[in-house]
């Protein structure tokens, strides 16, 4: 259970940079009123971000991943229950992998 100085410094440096990203964007964009286009773009960012996040692994993931994705979307639409959708998706991937084994 030791903390070395070089490791601590690296962690603190990462912490500072990460906090600057979290809070700095708000601090700057608050004082400078962004153009309407930028503001509208920010509203579109979450959906685009998550699509960009899931697309490469889904395309690379083959049949079980696609079955799992379909199950997640289906269960989420039907129940609006996040944990149920996630568990059903993981179970579907597990099942499909076992079947295709």
């Amino acid at each position: 259970m030791t903390v070395r100085w070089d490791v601590l410094l690296a962690i603190l440096a990462m912490t500072a940079v990460t906090y600057a990203c979290r809070a700095g964007g708000y601090a700057i964009l608050r004082s400078i009123r962004p153009p309407v286009f930028v503001e509208t773009m920010l509203r579109h960012l979450p959906g685009a971000l998550f699509t960009a996040y899931v697309t490469p692994p889904l395309v690379a993931g083959s049949v079980p991943a696609w079955v799992g994705a379909a199950v997640v979307v289906g269960v989420q639409l039907a129940t609006r229950n996040l944990s149920l959708a996630i568990c059903a998706g993981v179970a579907a991937v597990w099942g499909t992998q076992a079947v295709l084994g």
Binding site: V3, R4, D6, V7, L9, A10, I11, L12, A13, M14, V17, T18, Y19, C21, R22, A23, G24, G25, Y26, L29, R30, V36, F37, T40, M41, L42, H44, L45, P46, G47, A48, L49, F50, T51, A52, V54, T55, P56, P57, L58, V59, G61, P64, A65, G68, A69, V72, V73, Q76, L77, R80, L82, S83, A85, I86, G89, V90, V93, W94, Q97
Partner: protein
Amino acid sequence: MTETDQRRVVFTRAGIWRGARESLPLWLGMLPFGLVIGVLADAKGMSLLEAVLMSALVYAGAAQLLALELWTDPAPIGAAMVAAFVVNIRMAPMGAALAPWLDRLRGIRLWGTLATLVDHSFALSVQEQRKGGRDAGYLLGVGLGLWASWVAFTALGHLAGSAVRLPPGHPLYFAAVAAFLSIMVGLWRSPRLDLGPWAVAGVVALAANRAGLPAPLPLVLGSFAGAALGAWIELRGRGMPGGAPRRMPREMRRR
């Protein structure tokens, strides 16, 4: 949001608790990622306390993963900072997008809540805002709930060491993708507003990935390309720059 809406924004203990409760299903998505971080930190020679400190203070999975891939002895301070910046700059616009809530907070509530900002708490809070939610404590609650799970799973991964190492392609890894997909279902508004932007985001991310661009770039390029198209589609009918017809009266633009 209009001025009247913003004035009703509150920050309550109940909101924090509700956010923390609603973060619980997302813990499953954090589990494999946190374990991987813990196991990797152990493999790179970090002590349990160092691994836990990193997760507790940095609290940014993708950045930690990238930094650990680059990790050396002595610790690479410069490389770790670059990794943190490149991966986490995506969070800069998130705080701005949450301005309708954050603008009503001051001091530690504002700057402390921002310290807990992550992808999931952002996504859930945007959803909450769209549903008319007025309690900014919700954002902090989701962030704190996920933080607790993140630190715990990192410790678990480190303790279990190599014993927990899941083979690549293990179904549990799908939990992270599943969490994002369910959130996307909640963010979907209409084919006209979202289909094109999301398709572009996915295709650009995929192309950048195939082109061999390093880890955070496909994500950054894809999300900004998609969001830019989304803004263009939404504004072109309102006589904004980048769009031709001027059908909507000026006062409707901000709705």
